[in-house]
């Protein structure tokens, strides 16, 4: 009697187990199916909306990369090639020389090159730039705003959730499709900026 009952119990348990398996299989399949229908084949990368960024300086410290994956990018097409560059010089400098104490950038990551009277070209050395945004702020305040902070995709780890997102006071960081990064002013023809001639 005992063994019979035991057998009965076992088959009931087997049945339960089988139906649970099927439920899980269908559940996971259904979930995956419904997600796939609204997913995308490519991938997303993190980028800064440079129009929202207020150069608070948190990108320097919050990124998991040290130094930060956020770098200053120069949209040359927007640049006025000014002699007195608001992104290069500290406000109120007396003589426009490349002396370190005249420079805004804490790491001297910007080089100033004479092109022709009265134009100067400014280049960013990404290896030195720490993404502090000081130059970006200066350029935005006194110049054309051609310097912009952006996440450099060759450095960024593309974290599942960018560590800067929650710290950013301007909520400027968002996912964009990996085929369309660097949606910045002056870098692409399809984006225009105010008063562009």
């Amino acid at each position: 009697m005992g063994t019979e009952e035991h057998k009965d119990k076992m088959s009931r348990r087997d049945f339960l187990r089988k139906s649970m398996r099927l439920t899980i299989l269908l559940g996971v399949g259904g979930l995956a199916g419904s997600l796939l229908s609204k997913s995308m084949a490519g991938k997303m990368v993190w980028q800064i909306d440079t129009k929202k960024c207020t150069q608070c300086g948190r990108c320097t410290t919050e990124c998991i990369k040290k130094p930060s994956a956020v770098k200053c990018f120069h949209a040359y097409d927007m640049c006025g090639y000014c002699d007195l560059c608001g992104g290069y010089f500290r406000p109120g400098v007396k003589d426009l020389t490349t002396a370190a104490e005249n420079q805004l950038c804490p790491t001297s990551a910007i080089t100033r090159k004479f092109i022709e009277e009265p134009f100067f070209e400014y280049d960013i050395d990404a290896d030195l730039c720490i993404g502090c945004g000081k130059c970006v702020k200066g350029c935005g305040a006194f110049g054309n705003g051609s310097l912009q902070l952006q996440i450099d995709q060759s450095i960024c780890d593309n974290c599942n959730e960018c560590a800067i997102t929650r710290a950013c006071p301007s909520q400027a960081i968002s996912r964009v499709e990996s085929t369309e990064p660097y949606l910045m002013l002056g870098l692409r023809d399809d984006i225009t900026w105010k008063n562009k001639s």
Binding site: L25, V28, S39, G42, R58, Y81, A126, G140, N160, W193
Partner: protein
């Protein structure tokens, strides 16, 4: 010309205070026309990692899972598991820097389910689903040595000490709470807490904040004595895999043939995941069982309701993690993020967006509502887990042999080596 330009800038300097930043680009100075024929350089914009590389990760995941499953179920080889762990640490750990991982993918799935605007990458879905499917068929072979977090903890478990069964069960509630919180925060688009508080990712990236570095070091240190502390007492994906594994088609066995109850494997499991045989006479009487089930049948719904009620009364505190809600509350209460002497950056940034305060308030109120709903669900869920854990602690499971506990066994294959039984020759 140059003079004029400089005067213009100095004039600008004079009228603009340093603090007022004009975020929008303004064409103050015209684009220069070079006479020397100089052409502007193009801005270098390094391309992101190619998409096909992400699929390579998926292929590696499938290959690694297949191989380790074969090692565990067919070859019964601990050595194989060990080397797969080393591979996982190198590839998913150091090379991929702990991202993308199946544990974190829970959040992408939750965000995609609750947020219309989020398009989840296919690779995230695959990383979430594939290990679950393997677990449904073969047990937690993913945890054995493909998960970079598990693999790391597994190979440093040098001096594992047993944890009392009841304590293990009680601490085992934490992963459920963590899972619930992670889903709540991901679904509301607030934060990915699993990623933020991943203790080992800093190790893989050789880079972490001081706080996370301390946490990571602590986990590694504890992990030498309490095997896999993250897996057993925190991992939210382990919760899902543990539930699925209970119903797995196949699962590794300690003995290749018939258990002879020699007790040799009894203490071999670093995770205390081996079920001991119990003598038939210890089985409980039916009346006692029925009485207890009735009691628990009343208790569980009460716990579910109490959990929901309790947590929903804290929904505002939970919502405060959300940066929008936080901003709204700081503005509403005029607390300025605790900053004195100047305006907090967040508030300056908010003002520069031109969004009205009312809009912000209504957005924040929306999120708080979501948290209210969510905290009812989460509280109820935690209550349910408490109830079921209580049942699990009191019910008595009958076993005749030494066998792995399919839910908590990480399929590390250590116990197999202790079994003296030889496989039957065909």
């Amino acid at each position: 010309m140059r003079k004029v330009k400089n005067i213009a800038i100095i004039f600008l300097l004079a009228i603009m205070a340093w603090q007022t930043t004009d975020v929008a680009a303004i064409n103050r100075f015209p684009k220069p026309e070079f006479e020397s024929g100089h052409t502007q350089p193009a801005t270098v914009t390094p391309a992101p990692r190619a998409v096909f590389m992400e699929y390579l990760d998926v292929a590696v995941l499938i290959a690694a899972l297949s191989l380790i499953t074969w090692f565990i179920l067919k070859k019964r080889s601990r050595k194989g598991v060990f080397w797969m762990s080393v591979f996982a640490i190198l590839y998913f750990g150091f090379y991929r820097e702990g991202c993308i991982c199946s544990i974190g993918a829970i959040q992408n799935v939750a965000l995609a389910l609750f947020n219309e605007g989020y398009y989840i990458p296919v690779t995230a879905i695959l990383f979430f689903v594939i290990p679950i499917l393997y677990t449904l068929f073969f047990g937690r072979t993913f945890c054995a040595g493909v998960c970079p977090l598990g693999a790391l903890q597994d190979i440093i478990a040098f001096k594992p000490m047993p944890v009392k069964a009841w304590l293990e069960k009680v601490l085992g509630i934490i992963p459920y709470i963590y899972l619930g919180l992670a889903v709540l925060y991901a679904a509301t688009g607030t934060d990915f807490i699993i990623c933020r508080y991943d203790p080992f990712v800093g190790f893989y990236r050789l880079d972490a904040s001081f706080f996370m570095f301390v946490i990571g070091a602590l986990f590694l240190l504890i992990g030498v004595f309490i095997a896999r502390p993250y897996c057993r007492f925190l991992c939210p994906y382990g919760v899902i895999l543990g539930l699925v594994s209970r119903f797995s088609f196949k699962h590794m066995t300690i003995t290749p043939a018939e258990c002879i109850n020699c007790k040799l494997c009894e203490k071999s499991c670093p995770y205390g995941a081996i079920n001991m045989p119990v003598p038939e006479k210890e089985k409980e009487k039916t009346e006692v069982l029925v009485k207890r089930y009735i009691l628990l049948g009343i208790l569980v719904p009460v716990l579910v309701f109490a959990g929901g009620l309790l947590l929903s009364s804290f929904h505002e505190n939970l919502a405060m993690v959300n940066s929008k809600v936080k901003l709204a509350s700081e503005i509403l209460n005029n607390t300025n993020y605790g900053v004195v002497g100047r305006e907090a950056i967040e508030i300056t940034a908010f003002k520069s967006t031109g969004q009205s305060v009312e809009e912000l308030y209504s957005e924040a109120a929306n999120i708080v509502d979501q948290f209210y709903m969510g905290s009812w669900f989460l509280g109820g869920f935690i209550g349910l887990v408490f109830g079921l854990t209580l049942i699990g602690l009191t019910v008595f499971k009958f076993h005749t042999d030494y066998s792995p506990n399919k839910a908590t066994c990480h399929s590390c294959a250590r116990c197999m080596g202790y079994c003296p039984v030889k496989p039957e020759k065909k």
